[in-house]
Symmetry: C2
Subunit: 205 residues, 2 copies
Amino acid sequence: MSGRKAQAARNDELILKAARAVFTADPGAPIAAVAERAGVGISALYRRYASKEDLLRKLCLDGLELYIAVSEKALDDQGDPWEAFAGYMRGIVDADSSSLTIKLAGTFQPTPELGAAAARASELATRIHARAVAAGVLRPDVTTADIALLFEQMASVKLGDEERTGQLRHRYLALLLDALRRPASHAALPGPAPEDAELSARWVP
Amino acid sequence: MSGRKAQAARNDELILKAARAVFTADPGAPIAAVAERAGVGISALYRRYASKEDLLRKLCLDGLELYIAVSEKALDDQGDPWEAFAGYMRGIVDADSSSLTIKLAGTFQPTPELGAAAARASELATRIHARAVAAGVLRPDVTTADIALLFEQMASVKLGDEERTGQLRHRYLALLLDALRRPASHAALPGPAPEDAELSARWVP
DNA sequence: CTTGGAACGGAAAACTTCGTTCCGCTATAG
DNA sequence: CTATAGCGGAACGAAGTTTTCCGTTCCAAG
């Protein structure tokens, strides 16, 4: 398979990848930024999606499905209960679906399909949470909804490039897991702490 | 004191309060939103500030000064080292200066006065952190810069009205303090956990 | 070869949003 | 009574964004 058709199929992926990156970094980014990042013209976008909202919906759904996939894998893990739970949280933080799913929510009309996926994601999160509580490895006064908000807090961390941001998110997730775990067991924090220079870089426009 | 002059003096305060509330909720809000919230016309704003940037600078400086005041009060606290540190963190979260100071940074040309205030704030934060570490009450692998990023994470929590948001921030701050404290001592979480309805409310535009 | 049309690039149209200005009005100070 | 500080909000102009549109390219079928 090659030629024009192949190029088009490649662009499908290219555009989605670019859109995910751009809107994850800035949920209010213009469509032109996506096209530029994908290395295609604007019309290549509009050939595939009827409107910006359409593209946003697609991204949101993809994000939810990734979330669901990570959750299902975590539920399959029948090993150490705490490690299964911690692995779940690390997986969700890596998936970075909060950024897209939450921050884009409210910017478009949700479809039934999207609602169904959200319900499924919520159900899985509840099961994972319940299992960890039942196993006695999770602080019992933290609820499923708490976990959801904590994910958003991890997603709010943004500093430097994508790699550095991920590193820092895991650093604070480790701190959080320390607070969440029962019985307590304080692990070392991963990744280097932020440098002052990293912080102050945000002060210059 | 009454009459026209009094009304103007009252508007001074009204406008600043409205601006703080509006830009805290949405750093990119239009100036018209501030006027509406203050219950005044747009010209009342422009009589006091030459431009939007001017107003933003004023807010940022006020936020930094509040931060400094809270920090100085914490440094004065010569009681239990952990309580002094925890009180400091609770104070900063209540002041909610991260939302204004950080999220507005980079949107305007900083003045020397602003730079000086930022330097002073940073110095105080370092002193407070160092004191807590020296007293052995703070997890030693957490740096001053870590604390700054953790403040931002608390500030990223936004759910329901202002009161509910504050409540939740303190809930997660308590969790965080649990992870930060040495030797470990797990306190109960304050405030009710988020309800599912609170979370899902964000899905409807 | 030729050619129909899918896919594309990118300029321009159409629209939105926002900061700022301006003008007419009101109520007070003098 | 009058000059004017202070104000409300419509009007304006500059950006910025989404969407359309049209000329071009390139593959594949005849």
